[in-house]
Structures are given as structure tokens and as C-alpha cells.
């Protein structure tokens, strides 16, 4: 969307975030910090069984307890909800069925958390147990009981089959064909702040909810639906999030329950989840089994790729349909893939629901693809960095699955890290036990389509110009620590030539701010940034018009900088910014402008084309260095070099922070983080605490050498693309590839734990091929594929045969990994 060319005063300069001092001095008010007069405390009673019918909920003793003001059960919430229109499968409290340990069943509001806790113990729930389903394999094999009554069959939630060109034919004629199986373990966001919500029902019949949510707009919609209240009577305010990472993107039970309790009692109600409950809310990374088969030519060019994923969805839909599509969407945007087929399946199991976590559905296939390419490079005796460089998807192009690529800086990223890490001198040349590995990735700068179907903008901004010279930016966007409030201020300050300190930012309040869809899919800088840019340009136009009249110069000669509005050819002639506002206000009345942003329409026209398009794609390349102790299998990562194509850094320190944070999270996923359930003990979460769910500490963090690649993208504000999620993606595969370089074993799954590495090393020592990973992709009743010819085979983005979509013909297939001796069971 551009932005003014030339030297910038604000954009591109490192600076403090607008809320930095409040954050570091403890002044920021998070949801749990809110305390209102007469406030009650709510708590949720959660299921202690993984799968059961609820026969009876006896709340009489809890109601009788002194200090208890209200008790709710599933009967109070007949209307279901869910983030996606196609998966309205949750209830604020379960009415008749529980689907995982942690599913909320009842709730109380009491004068204190202690009384509320005691009251929960007094609620008696009688369950009739149903067979719990623990694994995707079991889900595929179990017709009855069904965890949900929807989905194609049994416990399958979603099946996808898309084919772009005849892949079988491409594989048959390729110089080299390789087939691999991978598994990516499930992990969670682990934001420092537990979810919390405070609800207030005013005497005038209006509901206000403060919540640590990334998506106040969607919470607003869910509340209206479930509480059967007009949206006009509901106000949702997203408090600053103490981290989100996707874990606060769904509407949650505790938010709806707090609202209902406030309405019933006429008193404010706060619910703050315990850390254990946050593990149950989850919505994190889907454990994903993957099979990939590629045919390449001698140079490594991908002639055809067939990719299958099986996602363990947990107990509810959440964003799962989108997640499933995402496991197949972005394989095509980094290196050219001539023909591509994607089959994806998501199944239900009796575990906390999975959903979007940083990278939403794409880190898993990215891991598989980048390790797969590393193996292909070795098969072909090619340098894996060279192989990648040789087949980059060109800028300003369409992919096989009709994603429109704009700027594309992956080549520059690869060259940076290759130079920085001394790749040429060190790859395959380090002593045993030390190694380096490379991987790349790409991510969206915002999803091209909203979550519910509509033609309205994805982000809106209003600007109010005060005659004192201050500017207020109103936007529905939510700062979850990533700095989106600051971005709004920087952009407006840049366009209007004022100091960032002169800007007040009001965000994430459905009563005050225009809609922004939320802080997910790395959309905020690009989308709310563009909306802010438009609003600011419009304000600028008004000010310039009136200043020009006053200064008696043509409008083109009016400049705005340093809080002054002046004649650029004679800078001494001018006025202050405040005077310019006053002149405009005197002439026109109150000065305010609006801006909004709607992403461009994507060229894909087939069903499923909605997931993957984005106004712009970011690119990253990473090289990881590892030290592997062959006697223990312990992997240490001393350093990662990472280059990220961000288009333009609006604030470079903020961008660096996001890159480093992504590397940190990727490191944890690569080496230790995993959601583990006890399959033999009721599918209980094995480690629902900050101490036992292992995430790296400061001492485990590697050094990070970051390079920012800046090649402004025409779609981004001032050329900016995303940075919040993409840099996580190359980290796990780079580490896996480095482990292979170090000790010659392939760990085809994450987390790469010492146990797995040691097992593989021993295997290797016994003369076997030293691989640890999944052995089989189970049978899935795939539907008939939707066939879409790629653009270079005469396609126009539509499916070839009408009626093929979802047509009855079901066939089943089973694929095994290349033969690996000594099958090892995966341990989860």
C-alpha cells in the first residue's frame, strides 16, 4: 500500500515501544489486575474423566454454601459456539457430554476464590464413561462412539484432498524420487500470563468484558450468540496480553461464564485460570504425522510433490479446519513445485483441543519439507543451500496452488546466513559431534480471508485530531506484547510529521474502536498498519489543504515534519501542527478521518483456496549449529544464524525481538516441548505445570545472529511484512539437519530428545541407518481429489471437473516409510 517514499523520520529507526516503560515498571494493568467494587470470583469445575455422558450434576450443596452467589451448569448454556462457523461444537459448560479431562462442567461465583474453590468440591457430577480415544490411529479405527456428531465419518473431523497437476505422472518421470515420514509433536503456547476475564453487567443493562484475548471482535460475536444479547449491548475490551502466541485466539468458556455470572448476580465477576487450566484450554500445535514423496530432477528441482498430513485435533474443532488446510498450504511458496498434491486429515481425540500456535499449522510441514530436502540434497550430492537457491519461487509469481507471491527475499536470506555461519567451510567438515544445518521458511502477513464470510474490511482505524496538537488513533487491534499499539503510533507519526509521544493509542475495545479481526496470522502490522496509513494520509490531506491556504502556497509545497507544517521551499514559513489542526477545524469543524484495509482477492477459485492466500509472504533462512554428545544423545545449540525478509522494519529493535523470540520458541519445540498424555491412565495430561512442561530457560537459549532483509513489499505499509511467526519455522528443521551433520543420525520427529538421539546413534553403531521417526502412515479414507490444473498447465484457479468436490468415491491407501530395520515404537 506504499506510504510516502524518501527518508523517514520515524519508520526504520529503533525506538522504545509506546508501552515499554509501563510494562517494565509493572504499571500495565492485565486482566487479573482489574478489581471492581463488589466483585465476585468465579471458578470452573472441570471434567475428571476423558470421555463420558453427564448423567447428573448436583449443585445443591454448593448453592447452600455461605458466600456462594451463583452456580451454573451446562443447562444454562444451550447455544453452542466455536471460532469457525463450520465448527460450532463447544458449550460454555458441557450440557450432556465431556470430551477431555479439563472440559468445563459447572461454574460458581463466590465472595472469594477460597469459597469458590470450596464450592467446586461440593458439586457432584455423575458420569457414564464412554470409551476414550487417545490417538489419531484409534480415532480412525473407531466408528463409535463418536466424539462429535459431525465430520465425514466416525471420529474424522475433516478430510482434504487437493491436486494441482498430475503428480503421479511427475513422480513416474522424475530423475529421483524420495519418500519420507515425519512426526511433529504437539506443544503449547506457554504465555506467561494465564487467561483471565472480568465481566460487569451494568444497572443499565450493558455487559462489559475485560479479557486477555487476542480476538476481542470474535469474543464479542461469541458472547452475543451464546448469551442471546444484541451486540450493541456488549462491550469487549482486550486487556494487554501477557503473551498470546495463538493461545488466546478462541472465545473461551471462562469468558462466557464470567459474563453470565455477572448478569445473574448483578455484580462484577472475575475468573482467572490456573496454569493447569491453561494447559486444558490449550489450542496449541497439532501433533502431526506427515508423509511426503517428491520427484526431483538432477538439480533438485521439484517436479512433483505429494504431501499427506494427519492431525490429532483433540476434543473440539477450534481453528482445526484451517489448521488442517495450513499443513498443506505453504509448501509451494519457497521453492518451485511444479505439481503438487495435498491430502490432509484432522481427527478428534479425547484430549485438550489443538488450534493455532505461532506459525499455525505450518511449522509441522515446514519441518518435514526442509528435512526431506536436506535428504534429497544428500541423495543428489548437492549442497543443500545451493539446491534451495537454485529453485526459489520467483517474486511476482503464482504458485501451483494459486498463491500470489509479491516480494521474495529468500535468496538474500540464504546468502546472508551462508556467509555469516561460514557454511561453505563448515558443512560436513566439522568433527564428529559438531554440526550445522540449514532450513528455510515462509509465512503469511495476514490471512487473505476472514474467519466468517463477509465483504467488509479486515481492519479499521479512526483518527481524531485535537486542536492541542494531539492525535488519537482508534483501532480494534490487540497488543499481545508484539508491539501493535506502537506500530499504529509510528505510522501515524510518520505521515503527520509529529512525535510518537504526541499520539495516544486506543485499541481493542469494541465500543470505542473500529473492528480489527484480531492478533493472529501475523496480520496486524500489515492490515491495521495500512488502515492507519490511509486514515493518516486522509488527515494529512485535510491539514495540507488548510495550511496551504493559510500559507498561501500550493498544496504540493506543504510539508509536515518535526511537529511543523511548512513550505518545503521556504521552511521558515509555516505553523505548528496544532495551528494547522486549528485552521482545519475552524474551516471544517471537528477533524477526524477513517482508514480501512481489505486484502486483495486471491486468484484461487477452488474449494479450500481460502487458506493460504496473503497480501505478502515473509521469508526466513536459518543455520543452526549443534553439539551432540554421542554418549548421552544430549543436543546443545550454541548458535543460530537467521535472516528474515521483513520487507521494511518499521521499528528494527521490535523486529529483532520478534525474530529472537521466534528462535527461542522454535528451539523449545525442537528440543524439549511436548504435550504428553498418559494413554494408560485416562488420557490425563502428564505435565500440566510450568515446572514439568519443559520450555527452555534463559540458560538454555542459544546465541542468535539476526540479519534483516529489507526489500519493501508493495502491499505492506511502508513495505512492511510480517515477523511475528515466520522466523520460528526454520529453527526445528535446521536443528534436525545439524544433528545429522554432527552425528549422522536422522531424527525425523520433534522434539529431538536425548533419548531419541542416543537410540539412533546406537542403531547407527550397529550398522543400521540410524533413524528415529514414525514408521507408518495409517489408512485414511481419502475423498476424491479436487483437481486444479496449475497456472502453467492452463489452469485458471478453478477445479477442473465440477462436481468432483466432495464426490462420493472414497478410496483408501496406506503408505509405509522406506524400509528401516529395528522398528522402534514411538513414545508419547
Amino acid at each position: 500500500m506504499g506510504g510516502r517514499k524518501g527518508r523517514h523520520q520515524v519508520v526504520g529507526t529503533p525506538r522504545r515501544k509506546v508501552d515499554a516503560v509501563s510494562k517494565v515498571t509493572g504499571r500495565t494493568l492485565f486482566a487479573d489486575d482489574i478489581a471492581l467494587p463488589r466483585m465476585l470470583y468465579g471458578r470452573l469445575l472441570r471434567s475428571t474423566t476423558p470421555h463420558a455422558r453427564i448423567l447428573r450434576v448436583d449443585t445443591s450443596k454448593a448453592r447452600a454454601l455461605d458466600g456462594v452467589h451463583a452456580v451454573l451448569t451446562g443447562a444454562d448454556f444451550p447455544v453452542p459456539f466455536g471460532i469457525l462457523p463450520v465448527s460450532q461444537d463447544e458449550h460454555a459448560l458441557c450440557p450432556d457430554r465431556v470430551r477431555f479431562i479439563g472440559d468445563p462442567v459447572a461454574a460458581v461465583a463466590a465472595v472469594s476464590e477460597d469459597v469458590a474453590t470450596t464450592a467446586l468440591d461440593l458439586i457432584e457430577v455423575t458420569y457414564e464413561p464412554l470409551e476414550p480415544i487417545g490417538t489419531p490411529e484409534q480415532a480412525l479405527d473407531t466408528e463409535e462412539p463418536r466424539i462429535h456428531e459431525y465430520g465425514p465419518s466416525g471420529n474424522i473431523h475433516k478430510l482434504i484432498d487437493l491436486e494441482f497437476g498430475d503428480v503421479e505422472d511427475a513422480l513416474a518421470t522424475a530423475d529421483h524420487v524420495r519418500e519420507d515420514l515425519f512426526f511433529y509433536g504437539g506443544n503449547t503456547h506457554l504465555a506467561m500470563e494465564q487467561h483471565a476475564a472480568v465481566a460487569d453487567w451494568s444497572a443499565d443493562g450493558k455487559l462489559t468484558l475485560w479479557s486477555s484475548t487476542q480476538t476481542p471482535h470474535y469474543v464479542h460475536r461469541a458472547l452475543a450468540r451464546v448469551l442471546e444479547l444484541a451486540p450493541s449491548r456488549i462491550r469487549v475490551i482486550a486487556t494487554p496480553n501477557g503473551g498470546g502466541f495463538g493461545g488466546k485466539s478462541d472465545p473461551f468458556s471462562h469468558e462466557i461464564v464470567a459474563a453470565k455470572l455477572a448478569m445473574l448476580t448483578g455484580r462484577p465477576v472475575k475468573i482467572t485460570l490456573t496454569r493447569e487450566e491453561v494447559f486444558y484450554c490449550h489450542r496449541g500445535r497439532h501433533p502431526t504425522l506427515m508423509w511426503v514423496k517428491s520427484g526431483v530432477d538432477r538439480t533438485g528441482r521439484i517436479k512433483g510433490m505429494h504431501f499427506r498430513t494427519l492431525l490429532d485435533g483433540g476434543a473440539y474443532g477450534s481453528y482445526g479446519v484451517a489448521s488442517a488446510y495450513y499443513t498443506g498450504a505453504l509448501q509451494t511458496v519457497t521453492y518451485q513445485v511444479e505439481r503438487y498434491r495435498f491430502q490432509g486429515a484432522r481427527v478428534f481425540t479425547n484430549k485438550p483441543p489443538c488450534g493455532p500456535k505461532r506459525g499455525h499449522g505450518t511449522p509441522q510441514p515446514r519441518f518435514a519439507l526442509e528435512v526431506h530436502l536436506d535428504k534429497i540434497a544428500e541423495d543428489l550430492d548437492l549442497d543443500p543451500a545451493e539446491l534451495r537457491l537454485a529453485h526459489l519461487q520467483p517474486p511476482e509469481s503464482l504458485t501451483a496452488n494459486y498463491l500470489r507471491i509479491g516480494s521474495m527475499g529468500l535468496g538474500a536470506c540464504i546468502r546472508k546466513v551462508v556467509d555469516g555461519a561460514g557454511w561453505k567451510e563448515r558443512f560436513r567438515k566439522l568433527p564428529y559431534g559438531r554440526g550445522i544445518g540449514i532450513a528455510c521458511s515462509s509465512y503469511l502477513s495476514g490471512a487473505g480471508l476472514p474467519i466468517y464470510w463477509n465483504h467488509m474490511p479486515h481492519s479499521g482505524v479512526q483518527l481524531k485530531l485535537d486542536r492541542g496538537g494531539g492525535i488519537t488513533v482508534f483501532c480494534g487491534s490487540t497488543d499481545i506484547g508484539q508491539g501493535s499499539d506502537s506500530i499504529l503510533a509510528y505510522i501515524v507519526a510518520e505521515v503527520l510529521g509529529v512525535a510518537v509521544a504526541d499520539i495516544a493509542v486506543v485499541t481493542a475495545d469494541t465500543a470505542l474502536t473500529p473492528v480489527d479481526l484480531g492478533s493472529y496470522s501475523s496480520r496486524v502490522t500489515l492490515m491495521s498498519g495500512n488502515a492507519a496509513l490511509q486514515a493518516a494520509e486522509r488527515a494529512r490531506e485535510i491539514l495540507v489543504r488548510h495550511a496551504a491556504a493559510k500559507l498561501d502556497v500550493p498544496a504540493e509545497r506543504v510539508g509536515l515534519a518535526d511537529g511543523q507544517v511548512f513550505d518545503v521551499e521556504n521552511p521558515d514559513v509555516g505553523m505548528t501542527f496544532a495551528e494547522a489542526v486549528q485552521a482545519a477545524e475552524a474551516a471544517e469543524g471537528t477533524i477526524g478521518t477513517v482508514g480501512s484495509y481489505t486484502p486483495p482477492r486471491s486468484p484461487g477459485r477452488y474449494r479450500g483456496a481460502g487458506v493460504g492466500p496473503s497480501p505478502a509472504y515473509s521469508y526466513s533462512a536459518a543455520i543452526a549449529e549443534v553439539e551432540v554428545d554421542p554418549t548421552s544423545g544430549i543436543v546443545v545449540v550454541p548458535r543460530i544464524w537467521i535472516a528474515h525478509d521483513v520487507g521494511t522494519s518499521i521499528n528494527p529493535v521490535n523486529v529483532l525481538g520478534q525474530v529472537e523470540g521466534s528462535v527461542y520458541m522454535g528451539l523449545g519445540e525442537a528440543l524439549m516441548e511436548e504435550m504428553v498424555y498418559r494413554e494408560n491412565r485416562n488420557l490425563v495430561h502428564k505435565i500440566p505445570s510450568m515446572l514439568d512442561y519443559k520450555s527452555p530457560t534463559t540458560l538454555d537459549m542459544c546465541d542468535v545472529v539476526t540479519y534483516l532483509i529489507e526489500d519493501p513489499d508493495p502491499e505492506g505499509p511502508f513495505g512492511a511484512k510480517e515477523v511475528g511467526q515466520g522466523p520460528l519455522l526454520p529453527v526445528p528443521p535446521a536443528i534436525a539437519n545439524a544433528v545429522y551433520d554432527a552425528v549422522g543420525v536422522r531424527i525425523d520427529e520433534v522434539p529431538i530428545t536425548p533419548e531419541k538421539v542416543l537410540k539412533a546413534i546406537k542403531d547407527c553403531d550397529k550398522g543400521r541407518d540410524g533413524r528415529f521417526g514414525p514408521m507408518r502412515f495409517p489408512d485414511v479414507p481419502w475423498p476424491e481429489p479436487t483437481r486444479v490444473p496449475p497456472p502453467w498447465e492452463g489452469g485458471d484457479g478453478r477445479a477442473a471437473e465440477s462436481g468432483a468436490v466432495g464426490a462420493g468415491g472414497v478410496r483408501s491407501s496406506s503408505v509405509s516409510a522406506p524400509p528401516v530395520p529395528a522398528p522402534e515404537e514411538r513414545q508419547h
Binding site: 477460597d114 493447569e276 524439549m672 495430561h685 515446572l691 519443559k694 540458560l699 538454555d700 536425548p754
Partner: protein, 338 residues
């Protein structure tokens, strides 16, 4: 957030007062020092004392004395882990203990947590260190509120793990513990303070207060402590190896090897120690000792990491610890950089 059950908090100023308060409270009473183990456990309803008798107001428990000129070092049970590992004399002469203390949890917890509390640390198990609701979901185990052991369902006993970092070092150094009861005062060798039982893990009477730990004079011996955990900080040990050797003319005259994290008590492995006596810690001797320590180590599947791997690491860590001592032999000092 998780709530503590209600309790009364008493703050005696002397040992006598503390003992009396505890006796008055009976089985409903418990001593609390830094509270870094007890309070999290109370939140999960592992212990539900109605009366907490704080030991932190008793000055005498906070002292470190002796340890100069060939005398024994006496460390009060109330000394914080931070004080223990930063104290000049412990760092200089009892490096293994300082090291172990420094490796406990995180700086904040070490500022609160005490040496005594660390030695009395509740045993751990990932079926047990869970909230009340979690434990209810799989049904309670015999360590609290139930009858079965989920780790070994046919077992008549609890296998919760001794997870203290300083305990194996105290045992390996041959420390002595002073226990004061309402009517008694006794001195126990460290090894006799612990019990191989996840529920009755201390031989101490509930009313007795551990007041002091006496460490042997620092001369002629060397020791070290190796800790295995997933991350560089905060985590409890899944394996701790404490090794003590007495040198005589370049040969090992005596040795003790104690393992933490593999049993319900710090486990001495005399069969491994015996192997190195009379040797110069040659590679063969170290290898044999590591193998001898590996055999009796029987970790159960109730901590982080798989049990087979943890058992295997016994060999690596015993080897590493002995090699460290060998490398330091003849340097004429028992000092160790911590």
C-alpha cells in the same frame, strides 16, 4: 490461582518454643523453613497442616561455624541455599556441597529455601506432584489419599524419588545430622537419616527438628557432585551423583558414591566405591566403578525423561565425576571452582 488451604502460622523465637508449639499442634502441625517445598505441596493438598511452625525466627539455626584449621564445619539447618553456596568456607573447602546447593532450583528459591528444608525435601513423583483434581482424575495413589501405586501397581510400597541435590552430597561426605526432639537430642550419620520408602522417606520423628549438619574436617579428601536435568536451571535432578574419595599417596584410600534421583533415598553404592579403592582412578577402574553403580540404580518411570535413559546416564555421570576427581588429584587441593 491455586489456593492454599487455610492454616495458622506460628513464629517461635527459640527451639524450645518451636518444639512445644509443634507438640501442641500434634499431627496437624508442621515445621516450615523457607516454605519453597511445603507451600507448593500444600496448594496441591499433599500436606494439609492446620498449624505451621516457622523455623525462620530461630537465630541459632542460621549459623555457619568452624571449618577452619582442620576443624569440622557446622552448618545450621536454617542457612539458606544462597548463603550455603556463597559462603567463603563452603566454597573453598566443601566445593561439592556448595556446588549442589548452587544447582538447586533458581536464585529466588535459593534465597528462601534452606539447607535443612532441602535435606527434608518431600520425595517426588509425577503422579503425585499434581493438583488435587488431577490426582482425583486418575484416582489417588498411596502416597496421598489413595491405596495403589500408579508407577508400579502391584507394588506394596511407594517409589517416589529422593530429589534433593544436597542430600547425596551430605551422605557421600559422611556428614552428621543433629536432631533435637522435645526430650531428646541425637546425632545421626547422614545415611541413616534417609529411608528407602517414598512415604516414610526420613527416619526422623515428625516432632524432631534438624538443627545442624556437621561436615568432616576438610583434609585429604576430595568430592564432587554432578546433576542431570533437562534444563540449565530450575529443574529437580533426575540423577545426582556425589562422589567422595580420600587420597593416600596418589591412591584412593577410601571412597563413597551416592546417587540421588534413582531411589526414594540418596543411595550409596558401596560396590562401585569398592572398585576404585586402591587404584589411581585409571580408566579401567572408572569404567568398572561406573558399571557397578549402573547395575543397582533402578529409576522408576515417574520423573522427567525415560527410565532406561536415566539409568544409562548413571554410567556417564559416575564416569564424569570420577574423571573430574582424577584430573584434580595431586593438584594438592580439594578446591573446586564453583
Amino acid at each position: 490461582m491455586l489456593r492454599l488451604p487455610p492454616f495458622t502460622y506460628l513464629q517461635p523465637k527459640s527451639l524450645r518454643q518451636a518444639l512445644r508449639m509443634k507438640a501442641d499442634a500434634g499431627p496437624d502441625g508442621a515445621y516450615i523453613a523457607g516454605g519453597t517445598d511445603l507451600l507448593p505441596n500444600m496448594k496441591r493438598r499433599h500436606q494439609e497442616p492446620k498449624v505451621l511452625v516457622s523455623l525462620s525466627g530461630i537465630r541459632a539455626l542460621g549459623r555457619i561455624t568452624g571449618g577452619t584449621g582442620g576443624s569440622a564445619l557446622s552448618v545450621g539447618a536454617g542457612v539458606t541455599l544462597t548463603a550455603l553456596h556463597t559462603h567463603r568456607r563452603t566454597r573453598k573447602r566443601y566445593g561439592a556441597l556448595a556446588r549442589a546447593a548452587e544447582l538447586v532450583s533458581s536464585p529466588l528459591l535459593r534465597n528462601m529455601g534452606t539447607f535443612g528444608g532441602n535435606l527434608c525435601l518431600d520425595t517426588r513423583c509425577n503422579y503425585y506432584n499434581q493438583t488435587y483434581e488431577w490426582r482425583k482424575a486418575i484416582d489417588f495413589c498411596m502416597k496421598k489419599d489413595g491405596v495403589i501405586c500408579w508407577v508400579a501397581p502391584s507394588s506394596p510400597r511407594c517409589w517416589a524419588v529422593s530429589s534433593s541435590d544436597t542430600a547425596p552430597v551430605a551422605v557421600a561426605l559422611g556428614a552428621e545430622f543433629v536432631l533435637v526432639g522435645p526430650e531428646t537430642e541425637r546425632v545421626l550419620p547422614a545415611a541413616e537419616f534417609f529411608n528407602d520408602d517414598g512415604i516414610r522417606y526420613l527416619t526422623k520423628h515428625p516432632d524432631e527438628i534438624l538443627t545442624e549438619v556437621r561436615l568432616p574436617p576438610a583434609n585429604g579428601w576430595d568430592a564432587t557432585y554432578w546433576k542431570l536435568r533437562r534444563r540449565g536451571t530450575i529443574d529437580f535432578p533426575v540423577l545426582g551423583v556425589a562422589v567422595w574419595v580420600r587420597w593416600d599417596n596418589g591412591l584412593v584410600a577410601d571412597a563413597r558414591i551416592a546417587l540421588g534421583g534413582v531411589a526414594s533415598y540418596p543411595k550409596l553404592v558401596p560396590e562401585a566405591a569398592a572398585v576404585v579403592v586402591g587404584t589411581e582412578l585409571e580408566d579401567d577402574a572408572i569404567r568398572e566403578a561406573a558399571a557397578a553403580a549402573y547395575r543397582p540404580a533402578k529409576p522408576m518411570d515417574n520423573t522427567d525423561f525415560g527410565l532406561a535413559w536415566r539409568k544409562e546416564m548413571v554410567r556417564n555421570y559416575v564416569t564424569g565425576a570420577l574423571e573430574e576427581l582424577k584430573a584434580r588429584r595431586g593438584s594438592g587441593t580439594t578446591k573446586r571452582d564453583v
